[in-house]
Structures are given as structure tokens and as C-alpha cells.
Symmetry: C2
Subunit: 282 residues, 2 copies
Amino acid sequence: MCALVPVSCGAAPKNMGEILASSALSDWRTPDPGNTLYLELGTGRVVIELAPQFAPLHIANIRKLVRAGYFDGLAVIRLQDNYVAQWGDAEGTRALPAGVGDVAAEFDAGISPSMHFTPLPDKDGYAPQVGFTDGFPSARNEQLHLTWLAHCYGMVGVGRDENPKSSGAELYAVIGHAPRHLDRNVALVGRIVKGVELLSSLPRGKGELGFYNKVESPLPIRTVRIAADVPIAERSNLEILRTDTPLFTALVESRRNRPEPWFKVQAGNIELCNVPLPVREP
Amino acid sequence: MCALVPVSCGAAPKNMGEILASSALSDWRTPDPGNTLYLELGTGRVVIELAPQFAPLHIANIRKLVRAGYFDGLAVIRLQDNYVAQWGDAEGTRALPAGVGDVAAEFDAGISPSMHFTPLPDKDGYAPQVGFTDGFPSARNEQLHLTWLAHCYGMVGVGRDENPKSSGAELYAVIGHAPRHLDRNVALVGRIVKGVELLSSLPRGKGELGFYNKVESPLPIRTVRIAADVPIAERSNLEILRTDTPLFTALVESRRNRPEPWFKVQAGNIELCNVPLPVREP
């Protein structure tokens, strides 16, 4: 019996709610306002945490685009069911601000000692190792000394054409089953930490690949801002669970082998994109 | 070079569109109208193919519920982002028709020689073997002589409380990243083959677990019918790609190693719930 729930062996195993209720302040982190985007829609705010350790060139571009007001007044232009929401310039006529152009592909990054990586105990077929780097779902190939972000639900990436270079002026968010075949094929730049449902519940586009066609009404973007540029009183006050703590390891285990009596068969396994990354508003 | 695209080695590898364009009539099958449900919403029709080889008791119940008009006038009562859409009787006051009650759990089934199973070449951590049985994503444990349906996007299951028995009067569809930890914990009864976006794009419920609360307006269900009971002229005329053919094997390979020039790194792998199951209207 005990082997099924190793973390809590000898005591009643805790479920996720109980684990979070037992967390200390130090189990949470506050995202850096300089690395946080607010995508302001008429329906509310989508909060994106950026990951410059993985895509510094694209994120430098995105900062310039945001501060030049490039995204303001553009729209969500694509909603493909079980795949992505994409926003940018449908007409392709809005000029990029000075100093912003295509930059080199950032499909993966070197493994840096400053990255805090927590491996998952379970494997998948897409990478030699998967886990969480500084709070982001990610994968590693230590032989190649490479790491990359993984296309889990809510991850934000940079649209591109066949050219591996891209600017960051067109962004998408994953709103379906993780399209992990895109890993290492696009620059992922961050993750939606709040408000993904404002995108995932939009009407699906009727055009090819889920692009909205001309008679549909794409949802306009009011503004995109960097949290650090927003008055403190208007910022979203969020805390994100750290992924490099014993508490997080216990949480992963409580999802590998669910202790709730509802579950009759425990999976003994968890896939990277099924691990919850809790966010709270203190 | 050739090793990357084994199926098409020596010739230009085909992408999914090209493979489907080369399909023969015999690569497709017409779902049995007796095993097809129409969930009629104000916004359109959701078509569900039932899998009685996996859950005969629940599906017998569902047939009785449908023919008694049990679902007509009920509503979608739950929409939890990245998880499930659920429909049934929010009030719990509608009586079940005569002859319908809780039946034994159907979390898995014996492996029968009449099941056509096509294994995937890739493994996952949830089961010794995964693949497709008669067109449905499924898993197998040959040592235990057991097989079960897998919780991929669009799969339809039977809601239950802590009791492992259930009736089939409350149903849900997966509308997010595959919750594979539910495998072998509920009776899955089929798959949405058309119209899943009518559910996945609904507003998320604001109540606990995504249930709609009293001030929200759940989407009403006009009727649920068995296709065989609907006049032929009103039926959805669908063909579903067979999963037990060389063409399907080639399709899987074209998704394991994507030949489109857009892809710079091939995954060499595909996860069960990322395999497309094409449906067409001839």
C-alpha cells in the first residue's frame, strides 16, 4: 500500500489543496514586473510572464514593440480549436518601430547555471528530460547542453513563416492539447499566468487554420503593456508557486498518485503539461 | 537524411494533406447510425460516436435516456477551462426513466479479438501500450488482458461521484490538455467527431470546478438523439478515417516526423492525443 504514495508514506497523503494550504510564503514568488506583460482585452486582462533566459533577442524586441504601442488597437486574428490563439496585425500593414526586425531563431538555449531546473520523475518521448526551469515547463538534452521551453497549455510563442527568424510582432498562445511537435521549432517567450480563458473561450475562426475571415469580428486588443510601466495600483498582484522547492515536489507527487478517494486507479505518472502551476492573488 | 523519414524514404515524404488526398474510399468508414449521438444545441450539432465495445452497460443506459427524451431541455452545466464541458441535470430533480439506474464501473474492458488495435510506435508513461482501437484512442495492458479508452481531446465520459458506479445521465467531453490521470477512473463512452468547438468555445463557468453558477446562463440542450432515429435527410453525412490501414500508419509517421519545410527540427515521436483522426463530409 505504502509504495503507491511514497511522499506521504506513513501519514495520510495530502491532496493539492491541502499541500497549498500548508505552503509558506517562501514557496511562492512574485513575477518580475519588468518581465510581465498585460494584454488588455475588452473582456479583461491576460497576464503573461516572460522568460528572457530562453529568448532574450525576441523579448528585447517585444519590449520595444510594447513600448512603441505597436500592439495597441490590433486584434486576436486566429483561433484554431484545440491549438492556438494568435494576435497581431491581420493586414500586415502596420510598420514595425525603429530598431525592431527579425532576429536569430531562439528555439533552444544553452544550459546556464543560473537556471533552476527541477526534473520530473517521469519521461516522455519528446526529450531526454523534462521538468520546470524557473517556473516554466521545459525540456533538456544534457548531452547537447541544450534546454528549451515546452509547448504546454498557456505557453506563448512567436509566430513565424518558413524563415526560422522572426521579430515577435505576432504572438500566439497554446489553448489546446500541447502541440509538443512545435518544441524547438519556434521561440517560446513566456506563459500566461492569468486570464488564458479570455482567449480559449473565443469563437473559433472560420478561415483556414482558424484565422478569422473578413466577415467575422476579431476581438480587439486595447493595449499591451509591461507591468513595470503600469502604476502600481493598477498592477495585477500575483504570486506564482515556485517549482524548485520540496513543497512543489510533494505537489507533483500528489498529482502522480492522486490521494483523493474519488480516484480508484492511480496513474503513477504525470505528463509535463499536466502539472499544475498554481497562481494566487494574496 | 533518409532515416528521418522512414516511411517515404527514397521519395519526397508526404504531409497529412497529401496523404489524405491519396486515400481510397476503403481508407474511410461510415460511423454506425445506431452508435452515433446528435447533441443538438442552439448553436449547432455535436456528433458523438459511441464505443459500445468498451462500455456496453453505460451505452445501453444512454440509449434508454436518449429515447426517453431525458436530455432534452437540460443544459451544459459546467465549463472548466483546459479540462471538461459537462451536461446534464443541474438541479438533480429530473427523474431517470424506468429501467435506468447505476450500472457497474466500466473503466476498462477485456481485450477481445473483434477489436482492431493499431499500436503507436511511441510509448507514454500512462500505459504499457497505446494506439487506436476501432478508431478510438486507447491503451492496453496485455499482461492484464485489459484495454481502455484514453482521455484525449473530444472524448466523452460519464460523470460520477465517489461511487464507482454511474448511470450515464451526466456526460462530459474533454476540451483541454488530455487528463490522462482520469483513464481507468471513469467510463468513457465515445468521442466527438464533429462540433467539439461548440462546447470548447463556451464561456468558462465561474463556480467551483467550472460549474455555472445561478446568475450565469448555461447553454440549453434542445435534444439528444440517436442518428438511427433521425430521418436520413437530417443526418450528418460523415466519414471517419480508419485507423487500421497502411494509409493511417503513413499518416502517423508524417506527424512523427513532419515533412513540411516549416519544421526545422523533427520530433521523431508522437503522443497518442496528438494524432489527428480526420473526419470528412463526402
